[in-house]
């Protein structure tokens, strides 16, 4: 089987010989896995396939032309930039093409007005350096500095640095979106001019199509260009030191400082987070899982296990850390003020400051996601939720309880209730639950744990990232909104009547649970005999 030759030739005419290929060796490079985020899941095995061809347009006009060709000749496609997001951003149906956007890699910064204007191939690492050279910073999401900035912002896009501005959507300004049928929408100020400095409107805000709480994985079109808001930083340089992979940013401690506090109880941990938010200080406030410390210390897998397996339920249960990043945005006096307020709060809560490295190894610099594979080879953040700090704390307990049922195959974490932190000065709380497993062993438990987590969220009425394409829409749809899935389906059918844009997303997980024999006994929700969308 092959794609229509007329389609292939038409695309070749758009990008030129050099930037289109159906060479199997090239296409192998676009296989989902091995390794990577969600790599090794049953979803990857059941739902992903190799692309038939790969095409690399260089700008919005070329993307538009390719998408229109796909519509004319019925060629399904997946937009792709840096490929972090594992199986969900790879081909799901036969004779599909990948539109690789890495050549859309131009960017410019308007330092005075605190934004970048970037193409889809531009990575967060490049932007962070550019930002800091110009008195600003950006948030490098958990995917890491190697991720496409645009994909990160329309996918997830948060980190401990989200204490000041949490919802990534707020950093999206003027944007170009090629709709699934090839029509171009210019959003925000781009709608009426060439200047992308503003994101909303005119009138109702079509940025609502770019994502929900989490991303849509390209099923509603291709973002080719976006202006991204940065945040004002402080003026002192952060100096890179070390030899890869052990690199750091040396912090100017008079203006930027991480401080770790050990606090006596969970209550004190949570209360201190609330109080820091209410006091309107700090640039990051987070509780991290204890095994992150082992990851940070270990030089290799063996050392990690040596460090980690000395822990047990008791040692995890009684370990309470609050990690705070202070930035003297205004001046050194601002820094000193914040530190005094922080010390007041931590003293009230019985917190003790621990010796903390005078450097940043991860969150400002690169969000060291690569380290997450160190222990077992496979890693997924099963759920990651922006809600209130109140929900974040309870959510962790429920999650930890459920996790026991699936350990093994999941790596033992001795009941650790995950990672939680402040967002938006404590107006919101964030919780994230990571799991690790060895994909050479049993993976079915991981797939089941995913769906069981959704069921737990529904039962306890938690908000969750497991919505939209992340889980079976017919499981989560009736429980949220209610029936948000029916609206998504209507939008999909209006904008992509031929279902060419990354089929069968957003109903891919529904299809997965039907196809995977080991998931059959998990299905206890109603869904139509035939899932919506075109069958490819």
């Amino acid at each position: 089987m092959s794609i229509n030759r007329l389609a292939y030739n038409a695309m070749k005419a758009v990008v030129g010989d050099r930037y289109i290929s159906e060479d199997p060796a090239i296409c192998q490079g676009y296989r989902s896995g091995p390794g990577g985020f969600e790599g090794g899941t049953g979803y990857e095995r059941v739902m992903t396939t190799l692309p038939h061809a790969v095409v690399l347009p260089k700008n919005t006009e070329e993307v538009q032309k390719i998408v229109k060709i796909c519509n004319r000749y019925d060629v399904p496609y997946v937009p792709y930039s840096t490929g972090f997001y594992g199986p969900r951003t790879h081909c799901h149906v036969e004779n599909e093409i990948i539109i690789d956007l890495k050549r859309c890699n131009e960017y410019e910064m308007d330092a005075k007005h605190f934004y970048f204007n970037v193409g889809s191939g531009v990575t967060l690492g490049a932007l962070q350096q550019e930002a800091m050279d110009n008195g600003a910073y950006t948030v490098i999401g958990g995917g890491g500095a190697q991720c496409s900035a645009i994909c990160n912002l329309i996918g997830d896009g948060w980190s401990p640095l989200s204490h000041r501005v949490g919802i990534p959507h707020r950093r999206i300004l003027g944007t170009e979106l090629v709709l699934p049928d090839g029509e171009l929408v210019k959003m925000g100020s781009l709608a009426t001019s060439d200047d992308p400095f503003w994101g909303e409107g005119p009138g109702p805000d079509l940025r609502g199509l770019l994502r929900g709480f989490t991303g849509l994985r390209g099923c509603l079109g291709v973002v080719t260009k976006m202006a991204i808001k940065t945040l004002p930083f402080q003026p002192e340089p952060l100096v890179p030191t070390g030899v890869s992979p052990n690199t750091q940013l040396e912090l100017p401690l008079n203006r930027v400082k991480w401080i770790n506090y050990i606090v006596p109880t969970k209550e004190a941990q949570v209360e201190s987070m609330f109080e820091i938010g209410h006091a309107e200080i700090a640039a990051a406030v987070t509780k991290v899982p204890k095994f992150w410390r082992a990851i940070a210390k270990a030089e290799d897998k063996e050392e990690f296990w040596k460090l980690w397996l000395v822990e047990d339920e008791e040692s995890i249960k009684d370990f309470f850390i609050v990690r705070v990043l202070l930035v003297g945005f205004t001046s050194e006096e601002d820094m000193q003020y914040q530190e005094r307020v922080l010390n007041d709060i931590m003293t009230e809560q019985g917190g003790v400051a621990r010796r903390t490295k005078p450097s940043d190894e991860s969150w400002i610099k690169n969000a060291d996601s690569a380290g997450m594979w160190l222990m077992c080879g496979s890693y997924v953040s099963v759920d990651y939720v922006i809600e209130s700090l109140s929900q974040a704390v309870d959510h962790g307990e429920s999650y930890a309880e459920l996790k026991w049922k699936y350990t093994p195959p999941l790596m033992p974490d001795f009941g650790d209730p995950g990672w939680f932190q402040n967002f938006e000065m404590g107006h919101q709380g964030y919780s994230e639950f990571l799991i690790y497993w060895d994909q050479r062993e049993d993976v079915e438990g991981v797939d089941k744990f995913y769906v069981d987590t959704s069921k737990m969220n529904i039962k306890h009425r938690y908000y969750t990232s497991l919505l939209g394409p992340h889980q079976p829409m017919y499981l989560t749809g009736p429980a949220y909104g209610p029936n948000y899935h029916t609206w998504m389906l209507k939008i999909k059918e209006e904008l992509d009547p031929k279902w060419v844009s990354h089929p069968p997303v957003p109903f891919a997980h529904d299809e997965f649970v039907r196809k995977a024999p080991w998931m059959k006994d998990m299905i206890d929700w109603e869904s139509p005999a035939e899932l919506p969308g075109r069958k490819w």
Partner: protein, 484 residues
């Protein structure tokens, strides 16, 4: 059964009307747009009743015009194609104030007066636009993205979750309030995004054309412990903007704005008779900057901000006289400070109506360094049309560390003078085109401005209509507005 009987069945006869007097009340507003007559007015008391009313209208192809405020200025609530005006003023409950998570949830009919008073009782406050009309709906102003005077919070908009009634009458909760059984749930409704797609974005700036929002949750803040206000006369707007580019990214200030002599005189005049004298005496522009000490060590916070300001002024902006007093206007700062966190008083005629009875605003989003150009454009067009430049109100609201700003020109006129109304309408049209040509972005287009903007934003308009078709396939929700 006729419309009235059907609506009566849903909300009771005391909450429905088609009397001439009631219909007239909703036929026009304070804008320059022509009046339009509804067929009936209905006052639902709950989201469920609202849903039934909308469902009935949808089944019968009857336009629905949602109204929440008591005063309207942009023409968006004028029934342009008849139908049923759904006035949500009975839905005026503050449903909760959660101090720990710093959020409040309130219905569409809650006014600024009611909301700020309830928050104050709890020691809380909200970021808010400049002196909103006391009887305006808080929900509508947030939904319509009225720009707040507060510039310090990186997250900007306070809007969180909402409950919306779609055109088919179904009830839906957006964001993290979408969980089953909300608010009896672990989720508190603190995340506006999702589920699935960002529904809340479609409802913002939509003038009720995508859905009717019944309640909203929004961020609230603790009251400040100490405030200081600084004022500076500004002769050269570019110089003033340069100063704001210098200090606001350093996270100085709580509220910050620039007003010209007309607007500031209209705001602070004790009596209408004082206005002319004040206008003549005030500088062309006044920079208003508040700094605040919050929950802990408030004096120390004020101290480091003041020190930074003093250094910048001494070393870089010696030509700027920023101080706690504006020379020649004793007590002005003391008077202004509480006004920045309050709606306009109920018993005083609204500041924009004090001069001539009515006012047409030309407002848009801009790059701050281009504001002097926009002022010149507005002045030129006004002068060319014979409107006195000295009478134009001008207000510049920095946004998000001064990376952008909202510019608002106010053209005051008399409601009874048809010639003057025509003149102001003409200036509004001409200025919109000229300002757009110079890069101004009209993110919230109302009335005639909408057709100018959407004509230019062709691909956005097309996509907007496709989304509208999904949420309101019969176009019953506030037809005749925006590009619908």
């Amino acid at each position: 059964m006729n419309i009235l009987d059907s609506l009566t069945k849903i909300v009771g006869k005391e909450n429905v009307s088609d009397t001439e007097a009631d219909l007239q009340l909703y036929a026009q507003d304070l804008s320059l747009l022509p009046p339009g007559m509804a067929d009936a007015i209905v006052w639902p008391g709950s989201a469920e009743e609202l849903g039934k009313v909308v469902a009935y209208c949808n089944e019968n192809n009857i336009p629905v015009v949602p109204v929440s405020s008591r005063t309207h200025v942009h023409g968006s609530t004028i029934p342009k194609q008849g139908g049923v005006v759904v006035d949500l003023k009975r839905m005026n409950k503050i449903l909760e104030i959660d101090k720990r998570n710093r959020l409040a949830r309130f219905e569409a009919g809650v006014t600024w007066t009611q909301y700020t008073a309830a928050l104050k009782e709890e020691g809380m406050r909200t970021v808010m636009p400049l002196l909103p009309r006391p009887d305006r709906s808080v929900l509508t102003d947030l939904l319509e993205r009225e720009v707040p005077t507060n510039i310090v919070y990186d997250y900007g908009a306070p809007t969180q979750s909402m409950q919306v009634v779609w055109s088919d009458g179904s009830l839906f909760r957006t964001g993290s309030a979408s969980v089953t059984g909300f608010p009896d749930s672990k989720s508190r409704g603190a995340n506006p995004a999702g589920p699935g797609i960002d529904f809340y974005r479609f409802l913002q700036g939509a003038q009720g054309t995508m859905g009717v929002v019944a309640w909203m949750s929004a961020k609230i803040e603790h009251e400040t412990k100490i405030d200081k206000i600084f004022l500076a006369p500004i002769e050269d707007l570019a110089y003033g903007q340069s100063f704001l580019y210098r200090i606001l990214p350093r996270r100085i200030g709580q509220e910050c704005l620039l007003l010209n002599n007309v607007d500031l005189a209209a705001i602070v005049a004790d009596r209408e008779d004082d206005f002319d004298a004040l206008r003549a005496k005030l500088p062309p522009w006044t920079l208003i900057l508040s700094i605040s000490g919050v929950m802990r060590r408030p004096e120390e916070k004020i101290a480091y901000e003041e020190k930074f300001l003093a250094e910048v002024l001494r070393n870089e902006y010696s030509g700027l006289n920023l101080s706690e007093k504006l020379a020649g206007f004793p007590g002005l700062g003391r008077k202004l400070m509480p006004m920045l966190r309050s709606p306009w008083p109920e018993d005083v005629e609204y500041w924009k109506n004090r001069l001539r009875g009515a006012c047409q605003d030309v407002f848009f989003i801009a790059r701050p360094d281009k504001t002097p150009i926009y002022v010149d454009i507005m002045d030129d067009i006004a002068a060319k049309n014979g409107y006195p430049i000295a009478d134009i109100g001008k207000y510049i609201q920095p946004i998000e560390h001064n990376r952008a700003c909202q510019v608002e020109f106010s053209l005051f006129y008399s409601q009874d003078d048809e010639e003057e109304k025509e003149l102001v309408a003409k200036i509004n049209r001409e200025a919109t085109v000229a300002l757009m040509n110079a890069g101004a972005f009209f993110s919230r287009p109302y009335g005639e401005v909408a057709s100018i903007v959407y004509e230019r934003a062709t691909n956005y308009t097309m996509a907007l209509r496709r989304v509208k078709k999904v949420f309101d396939p019969k176009n019953i929700l506030n037809p005749g507005n925006l590009c619908f």
